[in-house]
Symmetry: C2
Subunit: 220 residues, 2 copies
């Protein structure tokens, strides 16, 4: 089933990774021929990959000039996190009247796994379990389109979210916020759950400093 993927898909994924991990700095020009050779394919799949990255906003395509990496700046990031917070808040509000008791129990299980990761001080494992929690909430919004949009933005913000976790005490705080969300859901209190979720995602306080710092290290 992995053989179903075209070369353009593979190139697009590879390029995305290279942009995310900072191999290509902001403003760098991506050379078609060079990348084609690097990936061992012709220019065609590379061009198709460019198109997709351009739509995702990871690169800017200037006609007849080439494509340029477009790393998000501080303002872009704050805006994206704000939208993420609002979207996730909507998920919670909608889920409050749509989620089943069984699903709530499942959320508790995921949170228990998160908690175990916190206890083990395993940031990577916490990161994974945290993602499962958020994905579950998207799912329980009962709106597949909303779920897809959330997944898209979540994926886009992934590399920036990762760094936040290493802030001391952040994992424990994050856990508490998760539990507040689930508690509100159990009470069927959509407004309270939404507020808790918004606070969970929002870039505020110390998180702001960390986000800015992460940008600086990425640039160097």
């Amino acid at each position: 089933m992995d053989k179903d993927r075209n070369r353009s898909d593979i190139v697009a994924d590879a390029l995305e990774k290279l942009i995310f991990d900072g191999t290509f700095a902001d403003g760098a020009r991506l050379d078609e021929a060079q990348l084609a050779e690097r990936f061992g394919v012709s220019r065609t799949p590379v061009r198709e990959a460019f198109q997709r990255l351009a739509i995702s906003g990871l690169v800017a395509q200037i006609p007849r000039r080439g494509v340029f990496v477009r790393q998000p700046g501080p303002v872009d990031l704050l805006e994206m996190f704000e939208v993420m917070a609002e979207l996730e808040a909507v998920c919670v509000r909608l889920a409050a009247t749509r989620i089943s008791d069984a699903a709530l129990d499942r959320l508790d299980e995921i949170n228990a796994a998160c908690n175990a990761a916190v206890g083990a001080r395993d940031a990577d494992r916490y990161f994974d379990e945290n993602e499962a929690f958020h994905r579950a909430l998207y799912r329980h919004s009962g709106n597949a389109f909303l779920e897809a949009e959330c997944l898209r933005l979540h994926r886009r913000l992934r590399p920036f979210r990762r760094r936040q976790l290493h802030l001391r005490g952040r994992m424990a705080q994050s856990m508490a916020e998760h539990e507040a969300v689930v508690a509100a859901l159990r009470d069927g209190d959509g407004a309270r759950g939404a507020a808790a979720m918004r606070a969970h995602i929002a870039v505020q306080g110390e998180k702001f400093h960390h986000l800015m710092a992460s940008l600086r290290t990425a640039a160097e």
Copy 2:
């Protein structure tokens, strides 16, 4: 400045129109060679256009099989309108504390133009002015990323929104809702404005019937 656009852009736009206006029914296969000939270009720009449409969700691309038109069904539409309502509600809530008095006056002007269109029973003009109102709200959310996301979804829902207007009395009701939103913004009451906006977009009551009816006519 229109010469800057590549052929793939032109093909993508043309295809989008053809899909929106129902020339290609749901599930229809889009033939590369045929469309290339139709537009007088080679297969390459057609393929690039397909990529973009696939990401927008207008067509589904099945590897080695071709691309198929994917018209949204009733459930898809309800979900998309729900997300649109929530996104616009967020715009209003954020705008409540960010919009300037001058911008509020400008919104009143747009609404006055809307009102004139209602008086003239000019649905097309009302449609245009209505779009200006919504675009202005996206702008005043003070979040460029949110604005872009709203524009994207708004554009996607455009053909379905258009039909709703011809419902008797809908224009007048829509106007009243616009004014409720602006009034809440003047009071700086984000929550009230958000609720008003959500109600304005939400598919409920008679609008539901109309949306379903429009789907039936589009399918025939």
